[in-house]
């Protein structure tokens, strides 16, 4: 058991008030413990935590580029192995760095099954550069490069299913979590870092700035994602879903209506047809993972 009272991600960094990612990172390090080397790709987290000469990291930390964190982690793991060192290697990167530009390196590291844990804080768009669409942006979300307009309902595509893709690589442990359930998140991180081989956790990390909600509501929004079935918390052991959090599902409207990125579904008038499409995604999730209570 790691000492969960340790604060390894120090306060005083430059994240927005109510940032879901920064809370997630604090919990991730409580789960991983102090014998951890963290690799971060370029992104919000890297920028708000390490403006030279300041750093929020009380564990060894390295940032190289946007798309190569998995490869850097592969090299660190190989080096530690050669030196007989036992630190855990944990990547913490955003969704753009993970599901889009870093996909090649990610796939390579998981195919080679390095003893690393890759954690994606998923805030569902490129937030650092100004809320542009990524492969993890949900259906119908309005972003600055998938804007809603008179002939657009926002993002046309569904989220890329990275957990399934990495499970298909043979990852021994794949999980999803949310910063809104910190105990569950810490437990999953602890499991991942203690599972030999390449493990993956995707963490739902609401972004008040990019999604358009008040920074005091981050946990509420995070919980609503789970309660509506638009985000499912589950674990996959050797490619098989073992545990998915069951919920008494709320309608997706409850989640969509509190975020400005979905405002076009409700204004100038409510678009029932489009909301039904989002509801269908939640329904499919519920069926696939058997989450309905």
């Amino acid at each position: 058991m790691v000492d969960k009272t340790l604060e390894l991600f120090e306060c005083g960094h430059r994240a927005c008030g109510g940032c879901g990612a920064s809370s997630a990172v604090r919990m991730i390090l409580k789960g991983a413990g102090e014998d951890t080397i963290v690799v971060s790709p370029t992104g919000c987290l890297e920028v708000f935590s390490t403006p030279y000469p300041e750093t929020a990291w009380k564990v060894p930390w390295i940032h190289s580029l946007f798309e190569n964190a998995s490869a850097v982690a592969s090299g660190i793991e190989a080096s530690l192995k050669r030196q007989g060192r036992k630190e855990k290697v944990v990547v913490i990167g955003g969704d753009g760095a993970t599901v889009d530009i870093g996909m090649l390196c990610l796939s390579g590291a998981f195919e080679r099954n390095h003893d690393i844990t890759y954690i994606c804080y998923d805030n569902e768009a490129y937030m650092n550069t100004g809320i542009q669409r990524s492969g993890a942006t949900p259906f119908d979300a309005s972003t600055t490069t998938s804007p809603a307009g008179s002939c657009s309902m926002g993002n046309k595509h569904q989220k890329k299913d990275i957990p399934a893709i990495l499970a298909a690589h043979g990852a021994p442990y794949v999980a999803t979590a949310t910063m809104a359930y910190p105990t569950d998140l810490m437990k999953k991180v602890e499991t991942a870092v203690n599972t030999p081989g390449a493990c993956y956790i995707q963490v739902h990390a609401p972004c008040c700035t990019g999604w358009g909600f008040d920074g005091s509501k981050t946990i509420e929004v995070g919980k609503l994602a789970v309660e509506t079935g638009l985000w499912v918390n589950y674990e996959m052991i050797d490619g098989v879903v073992k545990k998915a959090k069951k919920v008494k599902r709320k309608p997706v409207e409850d989640y969509l209506s509190v975020q400005k990125r979905f405002r076009h579904l409700f204004k100038p008038q409510k678009n029932d047809e489009e909301i039904a499409k989002v509801q269908a995604i939640a329904d499919r999730n519920a069926e696939k993972f058997g989450i309905d209570l």
């Binding site: 403006p51 090299g75 190989a78 030196q83």
Partner: protein
């Protein structure tokens, strides 16, 4: 011990003797024989390294970056498209001051696709902050790897290096080489002692971002380290000479330059052809010499100016072209000789593996003597 080895195998053996702890590489012609040989050494337990078969050159250098930051001596090899794919990582490695050594089996860049030799690939990375050494033959190629680790890992330097040798012309050619023993290399090259490393016992942050208040100074320190490298090469090159009998203290090396009127400047395997051509031209009474550039980064500007002070005419052989400008070597030679009365002519040649023979070198000297240069040499006019 004298052995007859293919260039790639000579480099692989030299690399083994340097005891890299982590190797990450991706196959690309004509680099393949090097990484295959290293993989076999690991498979045969002749080399105790973690060998990562990555999925791209981009990941190869990224993995080396991580391994180096974690405290291991690392190695990779690539060429051409592979090096182009590493472009972003190259700048990053240099900026993070990680002393990675990488072999470049020089090859042309696409398009059109060409697997054959020129030096456009490494030249294109001239601004990346890597030391660049160019080998004339297989002996020099293997020696420069040992020298490179010694120089790069010096705590006053902490920079990465390319050891460049011409694809196919050297990589696939068998030559006799004098292979040092493990004991000799160990005596010359101490175990890797990282200046800083990722370590949970002493946590530090690597690769932070710098605001305009700090960035300029980081670049300045990088440039200072690069300039200090000249002295480090002189020092460790001389030490190499004392220990192995082959002196590499010079960033440049002259051949029959003392009484020459015309000097050829070149890098890499073409220097061998040039030397043979010079011998024949001298037999015909022409006073021609060669100034070989062994170290292209840092650029030996003062060394070139000093070596050529008595020369009237210089012909630079560039196996590259900075499109829209000139050959990259000639540009900097002109800068080094600025203010002198020396005529410098540039010849772009051998691109994409076009063979250069002694008669070509003689023809170029004739052109330079007539004041004709700054041109592509050997064009097939019927294709234009």
């Amino acid at each position: 011990m004298k052995q007859i080895l293919e260039g790639s195998h000579a480099v692989a053996e030299a690399t083994r003797l340097c005891r890299p702890e982590v190797i990450a590489a991706y196959p690309i012609t004509p680099q393949t024989h090097i990484v295959e040989a290293l993989a076999q050494m690991v498979a045969d337990c002749r080399l105790q390294s973690e060998y990562i078969c990555v999925e791209s050159e981009f990941s190869a250098l990224s993995a080396c970056l991580g391994a180096s930051a974690a405290g291991s001596r690392t190695y990779s090899a690539t060429t051409s498209q592979g090096l182009a794919l590493m472009f972003e990582v190259c700048f990053n490695v240099a900026g993070m001051r990680l002393p990675i050594v990488m072999t470049i089996a020089n090859r042309a860049l696409s398009a059109p696709l060409s697997i054959w030799n020129d030096q456009q690939d490494s030249i294109a990375l001239r601004d990346s902050g890597w030391i660049q050494l160019y080998a004339e033959d297989n002996q020099e190629a293997l020696d420069l790897h040992i020298l490179a680790y010694r120089v790069c890992e010096d705590h006053d330097i902490l920079l990465p290096a390319f050891v460049c040798f011409d694809g196919f012309i050297l990589t696939h050619t068998y030559e006799p080489v004098d292979m040092p023993t493990q004991e000799e290399v160990d005596a010359y090259l101490p175990a890797f002692n990282p200046y800083q490393k990722l370590d949970a016992k002493d946590p530090i942050s690597f690769g932070m971002y710098a605001t305009p208040d700090y960035y300029l100074e980081f670049r300045y320190e990088n440039q200072r380290a690069m300039l200090r490298t000249k002295e480090a090469i002189r020092k460790y090159g001389a030490l190499f000479g004392e220990q192995f009998g082959r002196d590499y203290s010079g960033l440049v090396e002259g051949y029959k330059l003392e009484d020459a009127e015309v000097a050829i400047i070149a890098m890499g395997s073409i220097c061998g052809t040039v030397k043979d051509a010079i011998d024949e031209m001298r037999a015909d009474g022409k006073k021609v010499g060669l100034l070989k550039i062994r170290c292209y980064r840092p650029f030996p500007d003062e060394e070139i100016a000093a070596a050529l002070s008595h020369i009237k005419t210089v012909a630079v052989l560039d196996k590259n072209i900075s499109l829209g400008s000139k050959g990259a070597v000639a540009l900097e030679v002109k800068d080094a000789l600025y203010g002198s009365s020396i005529d410098v002519y540039d010849y772009i040649l051998g691109l994409g593996g076009r063979d250069i023979r002694k008669k070509d070198i003689k023809a170029i000297v004739d052109l330079a003597e007539k004041g004709s240069g700054d041109m592509f040499y050997g064009l097939r006019e019927e294709l234009l």
